[in-house]
Amino acid sequence: MTSVRNKWLISSRSTTLLLLIITIFVIMSAIKGSLFYSSKNLSSIFSNLSYDMLLACGMTFVLILGGIDLSVGSVLAFTGIVVTTLLRNGESIAFAIGLGLLVSMLIGTTNGLLVSVFNIAPFIATLAMMSVFRGMSYVMTSGYFVVGLPEVYSSIARGSLLGISNKIIISVGIMAILSFLSIKHVSIRRMFYVGNNYNAAFLSGISARKTTILGYMICSILAGIAGILITSSFDMGQASFGVGYEMRAISAAVIGGASMSGGEGDFIGTALGVILVALVNNVFIMFNGSPNWSTAISGIMLIVAVALDILRSKRRPQGI
């Protein structure tokens, strides 16, 4: 009966992903040698990893619920601008960050309300919100960078502990905590039920609305945290931060085992998915030389991931 516990906790996909990542590493190191495993290249692979990790992690919640959140990139930018604007105006770091997180939470709550109370399709609701908050970001900055931030602020992301950069520690730490909670905590377990069968969950006494709102809320807060990290890392706020990040987040989550039809998702899988997406991007750049391909690759990976997901759900036997 130990197998029960395993099915509850660990997905076989994570093992596959891990093997795939290791294989790519080994092959690339063999072909490109030090060009690939130089610390310069590795750090370029991981430069966006912390933001992607947070966004993909949030996206996993929403995908488990059977939804999607296209607004994460905009929330990242908007939160960053709220925080940096407050800082430039002399507010304390704690206050600025606190308010930034509150703003991102409210955006997430709105997403959740639009989806679960007003029954707007998640794709449309969050597409609109994506536009609203990207637009608001431009309005608030008039297109200029927000600069002149206190020095301490930039040390949040740029600092390091035992040689590992703070932003990696923060994002991986949050990922690890949520991954643990997702297995054990009842509020998150409920999301699996809601995503699997919304009506059955409602009739089973699970508050499907509250659960949905919670999912979108967490997703936005994580995007907000990513927004704080990115502004801290660049030492400025910028309205065009995070454009297209939702693509990578969705790709990574689906590669990691989240299903576009809801009810499935695995945070360790998502984390590995993030690494794989970053790695594939890098491999492409190593052979081709142009980082301009990055956006196109994200799109291709998303298509491949979703197509595989559909094939997988077709193969699964359905009972009578």
């Binding site: 099915k7 089973s204 006494g205 359905q318």
Partner: protein, 501 residues
């Protein structure tokens, strides 16, 4: 020699024999009704004629020629059309676009010839004597008129055998009358009309012949002049009930668990007053659309109550949501287990604990998996869910009967005081059915009050201690299940329809 002959048709789904050696003959120019209880095999038989299913063995003859239909297109080509229970029209398109869907008259370079399309549509409607504007949107028409559009759509394809599956279930009385005169007109044009309905009064009213199916077998055909409701009913039932069911309640005078007073929900049910005692199974019988499920929904907090009072364990209650109801001890097992009951892509254990997650959390909200596993295992064993080591199997891999047991386990885990089960054995094989019946009786003996909604009379008679009959959203009567017969209950359930004609 009939226009359409069925010879020794057999059909089973998995191990379930649905049609057994059915032979029937239909003539041109008649209205031939097929009646039988739910599950008697009517719909399956029609789907075989219409090419939607293929028979396991047996043959279909058209005009004396062997014509086994492989798919609905074959059937259409052979002149067989089905008018389904649910309308399949595109609401936002015009009548003409619906009637000639995908067959619009087209000009030389692919443009639709609208004038001709409208003219053709008008012609089709004229054939049955109905005047209609071909360019109005379907959604602006009444349900009755939409039904006629659906019929014309089928008729316009050179059809001479028309199958109607419960065509009047959504129609008002006058709309139904209009449709009947249309059927008579079609019959006079030499077409064969096969009519399926639960409403026996309608069947008697319009049929030339009536054939009865019971448990997948052909029982007999009544010719014109022999057609009477009582006769049809006694042919539909008349089955041996002996010892298939567990004994009745041993403690009939338990405390009242639930009482409703004049419970109403607009357009769904009206003035329903019932009591349920601890230890008893109250059966609720009614035809589809009688308001039984809607009543259960409102009791369970899944829908509103407009007026009336619910007393649960001596306390006035209003359940705002299923969460509320479950917390107090009221559970509802849905009739549609896949859509509204189970999480089919989750494992059995997760399904069993779905409604009682709160029981498995420690103070910080963390789930205790070991406890969940122990409880799941216990129920798998107690309800004899097969395979025995299934708690980590996906529910979608279980058979219908075992899925239903998982659903029951989900509710028993919550420790309910009142359990409402809606069609608890729908789509379940005979063995699992008996097991589910004995589980329900055991639960009642353990002190639960049980409301069992069912369309299956044998189940109602075999298991209930009392029987409530609903019709058209109203409670007709509540009877003690002493000397009840299927005829008596059916008469109550059909009563109201007779008045309509």
């Amino acid at each position: 020699m009939g226009l359409l002959e069925l010879k020794n048709i057999n059909k089973s789904f998995a191990d379930n024999l649905v049609l057994s050696d059915v032979s029937l003959s239909f003539h041109a120019g008649e209205i031939h009704s097929i009646v039988g209880e739910n599950g008697a095999g009517k719909s399956t038989l029609m789907k075989i004629i219409g090419g939607i299913y293929r028979a396991d063995s047996g043959a279909v003859y058209l005009n004396g020629k062997l014509a086994n239909m492989r798919n609905p297109i074959d059937a259409y080509r052979a002149g067989i059309g089905i008018v389904h229970q649910e309308l399949s029209l595109a609401d936002n398109m015009t009548v003409a676009q619906n009637v000639f869907a995908n067959r619009e008259p087209i000009g030389p370079i692919g443009f639709v010839r609208w004038k001709k399309l409208y003219q053709d549509t008008e012609n089709e409607f004229q054939k049955i004597g109905v005047a209609i504007k071909p360019d109005v949107l379907v959604k602006t028409l009444s349900i009755g008129m939409q039904q006629i559009v659906e019929i014309v759509k089928v008729l316009s394809q050179n059809i001479n055998i028309l199958i109607f599956d419960e065509p009047t279930s959504a129609l008002s009385d006058s709309e139904a009358q209009n449709m009947f005169s249309l059927l008579v007109k079609l019959k006079e044009q030499g077409k064969l009309i096969i009519f399926i309905s639960h409403k026996l009064n309608e069947v008697c009213h319009i049929s030339d012949r009536v054939s009865v199916l019971r448990d997948g077998k052909y029982i007999g055909t009544l010719e014109h002049g022999e057609i009477e409701e009582d006769r049809i009913i006694s042919m539909m039932v008349g089955r041996d009930l002996s010892n298939l069911y567990p004994p009745k309640s041993s403690k009939l005078n338990g405390d009242i668990v639930l009482e409703t007073k004049n419970l109403s929900r607009v357009d769904k049910f009206h003035d329903v007053s019932i009591t349920v005692r601890s230890g008893e199974i109250l059966g609720i019988f009614g035809l589809v659309g009688a308001g039984r499920t809607e009543f259960a929904y409102s009791l369970f907090g899944a829908d509103r109550i407009d007026s009336g009072k619910v007393t649960f364990e001596g306390e006035d209650v209003t359940f705002k949501s299923p969460t509320d109801a479950i917390a107090k001890g009221v559970c509802y097992l849905s009739e549609d287990r896949k859509r509204l009951g189970l999480f089919v892509n989750m494992i059995v254990a997760n399904n069993i604990v779905a409604s009682s997650l709160k029981k498995f959390i420690n103070r910080s909200g963390f789930l205790e998996f070991d406890k969940m596993q122990v409880v799941s295992l216990e129920y798998v064993e107690r309800l004899n869910i097969q395979p025995a080591n299934c708690i980590s199997n996906y529910v979608s891999n279980l058979s219908g009967g075992n899925q239903q047991k998982v659903l029951l386990a989900k509710w028993i885990t919550t420790n309910p005081k009142l359990l409402i089960v809606d069609e608890p054995t729908r789509g379940v094989d005979v063995g699992a059915k008996a097991k589910i019946h004995s589980i329900l009786r055991d639960l009642a003996e353990a002190g639960l009050g049980i409301i069992m909604i069912s369309s299956e009379l044998p189940e109602i008679l075999g298991l209930s201690d009392r029987v409530a009959v609903m019709n058209n959203g109203k409670l007709i009567t509540v009877l003690d299940n002493n000397d009840l017969s299927e005829e008596m209950i059916l008469n109550k359930a059909f009563n109201k329809h007779v008045v309509g004609l």
